[in-house]
Every structure is written in structure tokens, then in C-alpha cells.
């Protein structure tokens, strides 16, 4: 939970005869993160497994196509386990179903198309419905050449330009952003030029069927009748397709499963190294899953060779996939960590820590029992997925719930409920939980916030030391700006301030000055040369001593400023706690104004409710950004490098691990 799962690099030598069984075990366990090992093979020619995967992919798409035609959901039912059927057999089965479905589906598609055509014709007739002239008479005019059609809106002006030398009239009968209807009239002797122009302007002439005669109104009536008849046919065909779906459903799902699994297996095998009689498979497996996987592999292949090498955390193992294993409750916080970066293999996974500190900082800035519980309730609603439209935000639900609950806890401590600042402190029961009012203890509140910041930054620096120890990166441990020297510098600065301002501080200030000089030298001024010395790189100083001294001066300046600003950044925690009380005060001032000074009545309570909602929305948004900022910029930057490779195990549908 505190670290990514320990991983083993696994190399398998698989006899060709056991290839499918072994791949099936690897895929069905869902724990094996595969690495492309084709380079270990001897076969540099075309890979037959790649071809098989492509064929499976094509078949899968065909099955998906049939499922779509039959309005069946694309689902994977592990009905019969993996069945390595001959692809040609499966293709034959799919073709047979396609053939059975094709006649009806083609007819359905044709009728649908016809319906669309008729409806489109009807729509296009709407703009000229009032014209009491037979449409056909324009088409058959001896001297007049007429074209009625739909054209991309952006092409109309260009069409007019192209016809500038040809006498013509162009009417836009229907102003539509996407498909305007235009009508062009010109002399029949210019018909070839008109045709070229309208064709190159992508005008699609309206194909009014010749059987419809009369005025546009009459044609429209005839089309409506035709539409009704077509709809009836489509309805009959829908019934026929439902029957076909019932007949072929189970076979289609079985085929889909088989083709899908075959494809995944072929894709996996295509990345194995192929030797003459064996295959080389390389990948990563979590240590906890290794024994069971090994046992199952040996069960299906007696001759398989398995070599597993536990991967140490030291030495920057950047190619090791990182599997995080946090309890379900911590998933929203894991998401928060992953948004910043995925932990590296050798690093601490800060999910647990952030699960505590994030709601803590949020709650301190959002301290109100009512507001906190409201936020928690919204969070619970989101994570319960009860509201369909908000299901996409379900992952935020847990985070909001935790933050809301901490907000409620701080609400008890600050004595605030729905912006009422006096109710809880005056209640005999809740009085015992009351700590202080931030607005009345501003300096104390800000001081505590800075203290909290110092604690968090110190934890961050200590975690960096721990990460360096785990990675056995001694240069980082001692001389990194956030390493031991950096920590000594930070604490010494704090000590110096304490010894100056706190009367009777046990350690005299000169001690801290000496430590500051030593810390600054080791963590900034001499950090790079010392690191190079430890790591054996030469030259110790790059670019000349002059540049180095100037650079060091500015780095030192930057270091002191950043330490100060990082710490003072946490003032905002106290500032928002104070601001919250200020907002609450403002709500009641406005409510008083709305009630005309009576502090009662509908206006007063409406303003109190609206003000509370406003405070929850406004503050909730701002505070969450501030909390994230404090974690990402101030806290994580001290110890968390990130950049880990995601662990993506090979998993056939329904794999056991998942």
C-alpha cells in the first residue's frame, strides 16, 4: 500500500507445442505484463501470428457489424472457455450468419434509405410548398433550364461567381446552415455550363421521382403516403431482424468470444521471440502472484523453463511497470496522485499520505458542518452512480465525500454550521467540540497554518531521504537540494528564526548560522560537484569557475526565496478558514438587507439559503484548487519524482486477477 507492488522479471522458454496453453494461462490470470521479445527470436521474416491477429481483427469487426445490424449489445460471455478453432471455420460460420441476415438487413437498409430520401424530398419541398406551379413543368421547359438542389452553404457564393458570365437566376429557397436548397434558372442553351458549374460546386440535384406529379403541395401529399407505407415495411423488417437475432444470438456471442480471445492471444504471441522449437516470453509479474502463476504454467507445460528475477528497488529501475495496490476507498486519491505522475518503482506511493493530508487541508479551509455534510452528500451521490448523467464523475465522489466530512469536522471545531457562527458554540453539547473562531483569532489561525505547512514540508523532505535510501542514491540523499543538506538548511533557518524571536530558546543562534552555511554549501553551492564526485563523473565543474560562482549565487538566492515562499504558501490554509467566516458574515449582511433590516421573513431566509449555496459552490471550487496546488507544488515537489511505467497486464476478457 505504501509502495508499488514488488515485481519479478520473468523469462519463459515455452515449447512450441505448449504455446497456446501457456499463452492462455498468461492471459486468463491477468497478471503478466508482457514485453516485446521479438528481438530475442531468430525469425526475422513475416510473423504469421501478426497475420492471424489481423485476420481475427477483421473477423471481429464483421461480427460486431452483424451484432449491430441485429441490435445486439457487444458483450463477451465466457461460455465455453478458450477454443482455438480454425479461423477458416469461424469465418465460414460468420459468413453463414451474414448470408442469413443479409437479405433482410439489405432490405431494411434500402427501405430506411428510401424513407430518408422521401423525408428529405418532403423537407426540400417545404420551401416551395406555396408555389402553385407543377415542378415537372420547369424540368421539361423548352427554353428554360432549371436545377433544384442542395448545396454546401459555403459553396453558394462561389457558384454564383462561377456563373457570372452566364445569364441566370439563383434563388436560395431554404436558408439552412448545413444544407440550403437552391434553384437555378437559365437559358437551356447554357445548360452545359450550368451543369459543369453546379456539379463542381457539389450541388446535389433533388431527385424528385417522376411518378409524383402536380403542384409541390400535391407532390408532398403523395410523398407522405409513400412514407407511411415505407414505415410499415420497416416495422415488419424490424420484427424479422428480432427473430434472426434470437436465432443467432448465442452462436454470435460464442464466435465473438472466440475471435476476440484468438486475436488477443495472437497479438500476444506475435510479441514473443520465436526460436526454432521454442518461444521466448519476457515480462513482469507481481511477486505476490508469481507462485500461483508458476504453478499453473507448470500444470499446462511440463517442459516449460521459468526464470524469475526479483527486481530490487535500487538503481533507478525505470523499465519496471508500476502496479499500485490501494484499497478501493483510496482509489480517488490514487487518481489524484496519478494525475500528477505515476510513482516510480523505487518510490513511495504517496496515495495513503495524500488520503489524509488532502481532506485535512481542504477541511481546514472549508470548515462548516452544514457545508461539509452537503459536499459529502453530493460526493456520496456521485460515487453511488444513482444519477445517470453524472456517472462520469463517479470517481470524484469519494474525494468529495472525504473532503466534505473533514469540512464538517472542522466545522465543529470552528463552531460553524450553514454560516451560523454562534449556534454550535452556544449549544451545551456541541460546545465541548468548539476550538476557536478563525475570524476572531486571525494571527493564531495563520500561525497554525504555517506550522502545518512546516510539518508537511518536513515530511516531504524526510520522504525524499527515504526514497533516496531505497534507491541507494547516496548523492541524492546527501547533496540534493531536498536531501539531507537541504533538510538541515530548512530546519536551521527555522531554528534561527525561533532563536531570534523566542526568548530563552535553548540553542543559541550562532549554531544555526553555522548549520545554514554548511547546509547551503552542501545542498546548493557544492551540490553538483559533490554529486558528480560521489557518482564518479568528471569534470566536477562544468563551464568554468566564473560562471559557476555567478550561477551558485543565484541558485542560493532562489533556494532561500523558495523555502520561504513554500512555507508561506500554507498561510492560505488559515486565510481561507478566515475568509470562510467572512463569507458567512457577508451572507447574513445581505440577508438582513433583503429583509429590510427585520432579519426574518421569506427574503431573509431565501438569501441565507442562496448565500449558503453560493459559498459551497464558490469556496468548494477555490479551496479544491488551493488544496491541489499545495500538494502538487509544495508537497510533492519535495520527494515525488514520478514517471513510472504503467502496469498493463495481458488480460483476456474475464481474467481472474481483474
Amino acid at each position: 500500500m505504501f509502495f508499488p507492488e514488488a515485481m519479478n522479471e520473468v523469462q519463459l522458454i515455452v515449447p512450441s507445442k505448449d504455446l497456446l496453453a501457456v499463452t492462455n494461462v498468461l492471459g486468463s490470470r491477468g497478471v503478466f505484463h508482457q514485453i516485446d521479445s521479438t528481438y530475442l527470436g531468430v525469425n526475422s521474416g513475416p510473423n504469421t501470428w501478426q497475420e492471424k491477429a489481423a485476420r481475427c481483427s477483421a473477423l471481429e469487426r464483421r461480427i460486431q457489424g452483424v451484432l449491430q445490424i441485429l441490435s445486439l449489445k457487444e458483450e463477451y460471455f465466457e461460455s465455453s472457455g478458450f477454443d482455438s478453432e480454425d479461423l477458416d471455420m469461424m469465418r465460414f460460420a460468420i459468413e453463414s450468419i451474414e448470408a442469413d441476415v443479409k437479405a433482410t438487413s439489405d432490405q431494411w437498409a434500402n427501405e430506411k434509405k428510401r424513407l430518408e430520401q422521401l423525408e428529405s424530398q418532403l423537407r426540400q419541398l417545404e420551401p416551395i410548398a406555396d408555389i402553385n406551379v407543377e415542378v415537372g413543368s420547369f424540368q421539361n421547359s423548352r427554353y428554360l433550364y432549371s436545377i433544384l438542389g442542395i448545396i454546401p452553404a459555403s459553396n453558394i457564393s462561389r457558384l454564383e461567381t462561377s456563373l457570372s458570365r452566364v445569364p441566370h437566376v439563383l434563388f436560395t429557397l431554404k436558408e439552412d446552415v448545413h444544407k440550403p436548397v437552391v434553384w437555378i434558372l437559365a437559358r437551356r442553351s447554357n445548360s452545359d455550363m450550368i451543369d459543369r458549374a453546379v456539379k463542381s460546386a457539389y450541388l446535389n440535384p433533388l431527385a424528385l421521382p417522376e411518378k409524383f406529379e402536380g403542384t409541390p403541395a400535391k407532390v408532398a401529399e403523395s410523398i407522405r403516403v409513400e412514407i407511411e407505407s415505407t414505415k410499415r415495411k420497416i416495422s415488419d423488417l424490424d420484427d424479422a431482424l428480432v427473430k434472426l437475432a434470437n436465432i443467432h444470438k448465442s452462436e454470435l456471442y460464442k464466435l465473438l468470444w472466440n475471435v476476440h480471445v484468438n486475436r488477443m492471444m495472437a497479438e500476444a504471441i506475435a510479441r514473443f521471440g520465436q526460436l526454432r522449437h521454442t518461444y521466448v516470453v519476457v515480462g513482469w509479474v507481481p511477486t505476490s502472484d508469481l507462485p500461483s502463476l508458476t504453478q499453473r504454467l507448470k500444470n499446462v507445460s511440463k517442459e516449460i523453463l521459468i526464470e524469475a528475477m526479483p527486481m530490487a528497488r535500487a538503481g533507478h529501475p525505470s523499465n519496471v511497470p508500476v502496479a499500485l495496490h490501494n484499497p478501493g476507498l483510496l482509489r480517488p486519491f490514487e487518481m489524484l496522485v496519478n494525475t500528477y505522475a505515476r510513482p516510480r518503482y523505487e518510490e513511495i506511493d504517496p496515495t495513503v499520505l495524500i488520503a489524509l493530508t488532502f481532506p485535512l487541508l481542504f477541511g481546514a479551509m472549508f470548515g462548516d458542518v452544514g457545508h461539509g455534510l452537503m459536499l459529502a452528500a453530493i460526493g456520496w451521490l456521485l460515487s453511488s452512480k444513482k444519477i445517470k448523467a453524472l456517472r462520469g464523475m463517479a470517481s470524484l465522489g469519494g474525494l468529495m465525500t472525504a473532503c466534505g466530512l473533514f469540512g464538517a469536522i472542522f466545522g465543529f471545531l470552528f463552531g460553524s454550521v450553514f454560516a451560523f457562527e454562534d449556534v454550535l458554540p452556544e449549544n451545551p453539547f456541541f460546545k465541548q467540540f468548539f476550538w476557536m473562531k478563525p475570524l476572531e483569532n486571525i494571527i493564531e489561525t495563520l500561525g497554525i497554518a504555517v506550522g502545518l505547512g512546516i510539518a508537511l514540508l518536513s515530511i516531504g523532505l524526510l520522504l525524499n531521504l527515504y526514497n533516496a535510501i531505497r534507491a541507494r542514491d547516496w548523492a541524492r540523499f546527501f547533496f540534493d537540494p531536498n536531501g539531507l543538506a537541504g533538510l538541515i538548511l530548512y530546519w536551521s533557518l527555522l531554528g534561527l528564526i525561533a532563536s531570534i524571536f523566542i526568548h530563552g530558546f535553548p540553542i543559541p543562534w550562532p549554531v544555526f548560522v553555522i548549520l545554514i552555511v554548511l547546509g547551503a554549501l552542501a545542498s546548493v553551492a557544492l551540490s553538483e560537484p559533490l554529486k558528480r564526485l560521489v557518482e564518479g563523473y568528471r569534470p566536477l565543474i562544468e563551464g568554468g569557475v566564473g560562471i559557476y560562482i555567478v550561477q551558485t549565487f543565484f541558485e542560493l538566492l532562489e533556494k532561500f526565496i523558495s523555502m520561504f515562499s513554500n512555507t508561506m504558501s500554507f498561510v492560505r490554509v488559515g486565510a481561507f478558514a478566515v475568509a470562510h467566516a467572512g463569507f458567512c458574515l457577508a451572507v447574513f449582511v445581505f440577508a438582513g438587507l433583503a429583509s429590510g433590516g427585520t432579519n426574518t421573513g421569506f427574503g431573509y431566509w431565501a438569501m441565507v439559503v442562496a448565500g449558503n449555496i453560493g459559498v459551497v459552490l464558490f469556496e468548494g471550487f477555490i479551496v479544491s484548487i488551493q488544496t491541489m496546488r499545495l500538494h502538487y507544488y509544495e508537497f510533492f515537489s519535495k520527494f515525488f519524482t514520478g514517471g513510472g511505467l504503467p502496469y498493463e497486464p495481458l488480460a483476456l476478457p474475464g481474467a481472474q486477477k481483474n
Binding site: 489481423a54 462561389r158 461567381t161 462561377s162 448545413h178 463542381s200
Partner: protein, 361 residues
Amino acid sequence: MSGGVSAYAAISSRVRAMYANLLTPQDVLQLSEASDFSSLFGLLKNTAYGPYLDSLKDKDIAPKRAIIQIKRKLAASYNSVIQMTPVETRPLVKELYRYFELGNLKAILRGLVTVSVGNSETTLWDRVREVLFPLGSDTVLPAQAMIESGSVTSAVDLLHGTPYEETLSFAMKRYSAEQNLFPLEVALDLSHWRRLWSQAGKLTGQDHQYGAKIIGSLLDMNNLMWAIRYRVYYKLSEEEIINYTLPFGYRVHDSDIRAIAAGADIAPIVMRIYPMIGDVNVMFEEPQAGLPKLEFQLKRQLMNQCLSAFVGSPFHIGIPLAFLVMSDLEVQDLTVLIEAKSSNMPDDEYRPFLLKPTLLN
């Protein structure tokens, strides 16, 4: 405040840093000295393209693969610029990037109509994949599914909900009637450039000025070459040429296009628009050889326009756009080099088509 210092401070510095990584004219000349493709590949590995080429395994080192890897750097540049571009101007850069998606779409459609009987789908997809610009996940095209659909009509059906749907819904009628990709490609091109010009038109202040200058110059080059080719090669009618071109641009005006469409002498029109290009008359004496030279000269003008964007105030969209166009032109140079070296083409046949070295003149 898209034209402001605050909006462009970061991107301007970043782009200038990336600009410094572009090859110099001397670098391109040095690359052209390579004796063959493998030595060119070795030299390229020492440039900013190295990290992209390093990922190729020895057995995969082939001209087409190398070109794809080189294009990956261009894709990375686009992604980097898009992420840092201010919100107001981002749609323009995204639309410019879409040009490569348009190229991929055309390649897919061409792949579908040129498939010979007896070739399996796998082979076709593999062949098409090799020429697609590596857009990664930044594309709306279901490329493999389109190829596997087996026909242009089915492939176009898969573009439902994409920006290409509406354009193709009109053009497909003509494809069905003519069984020729020309109307589809023209419609897609026109639609893309209209959208791009429209995005440039939405900008304000310096952004508008530089957006119109660089996008307009790109558009000029394409529009002018379309009009000339439609008349010289395809012998299209005046109406068709007008409908297949665009009425806007930076230097090329609608009146110029209409004059070309109406049959006016092309060389004087080109010379009036681009007085700095010499020997235009000679180019039209033998269009087959002359038009590529004219296009090359237009690209040179474009490159000069891009370079001019780097002079003066840096806080506008001109610098990112100019950098991206320059990067694209560099990739074109490298593509010429790779293809020339892999086919052992004599130096004098391809060197005149290298853009970067012309900056030394």
C-alpha cells in the same frame, strides 16, 4: 488577451528553444553529402531527430520507417505548441494540424481504390499504415477500420460525427456517379482551407495580422497551384476552376484566380503577385518540369514569410505558426533527401528541390 505578453511569454520562449533545434542550411547540405541512405541515417541520428530514430531497431531501418520517425518529431512539435497556445488561438493551430489528418484520410481513400485484386486486407493496411502521418491518438479517423471496410463508401460511412462527414455527404454523390476520388479530395481540401481561413479570421490584433499572413501565404501557394494545375493539366472549364478554388488569401486575390480560370496568360499574373520569382515564363514553356519548380519557388516565398515572423515583437501567434510551417518544410527536405539517397539519385537531380539550403543564397 491573446496578443498579450502574458499569453505568449511561455510559448514564445518554448518555440524559440525548439526553433533552435531545427536544422540549419549547412546541416541540410552536410546531410546531402551522405553517400547513401545508411550513412544519411547515421548523420540524422546526431541531429534533433536522433531520439526519434534511435527507437528503430536495426532490422526496421528502412526509408519509409525513417520518414515516419522524422514526422513523429513534427507531431511532437505540434502537440507541444498546441498545449501552450493561448485558448483563443488554439483552434487555429489545431486546424492547421488537421492538415496532416486530411492527408491521412486521402491516403486511406487512395489505398482503398488502388487495392489490386488478390491482395489481402492485412497487406493493404500494412501498406497504407506506412504512409500515414503519425498522429497517434490525435485523430478522429478510424484508419484501420476504414481500410478493413473494403470500400470507399463503407469507409466514409465510418466518418459519422467527424468534421469530414458533412463535406463528404455532398461529395459522395459525385464519387458514386464518377467512381473517382478527385471530387472527394477537392471537397476535403476546400473545406479544410475554408475552416482554417475562418479560424484565422476570428483572431484579433497582431494575432490576426500574423495568422492571416502565414495561413494566407500557405493558402496562396495551394490555391494558385490548384488553379494552374486545373487549367494546365486537367483542362477544366472556367466554372469548374472557380468552384474548385478559394476566393481569399494573403497575396493571391480572387481576381487572379478568376483571370487564370478565364484563360488569361498565367506567367504575368504570377510575376505580378510574386515579383521576386524570376524566369516564370520559362517555367510555363514546359509545364511538366516547370510547375514543380514554380511550386518550389512558392514554398521558398512561404519560408521567407515564416522567417519574417521571428523579427519584431514575439508576443503573437505568428511565431508558433511560422515555426510549425518551417518544421514541416524541414521534414519535406528530409523526405526528399531520404528518398533520393535510398534510390541512389544523382545529386543534381534532387538538390535543386532542397528548400533550406536556398537560405544561403
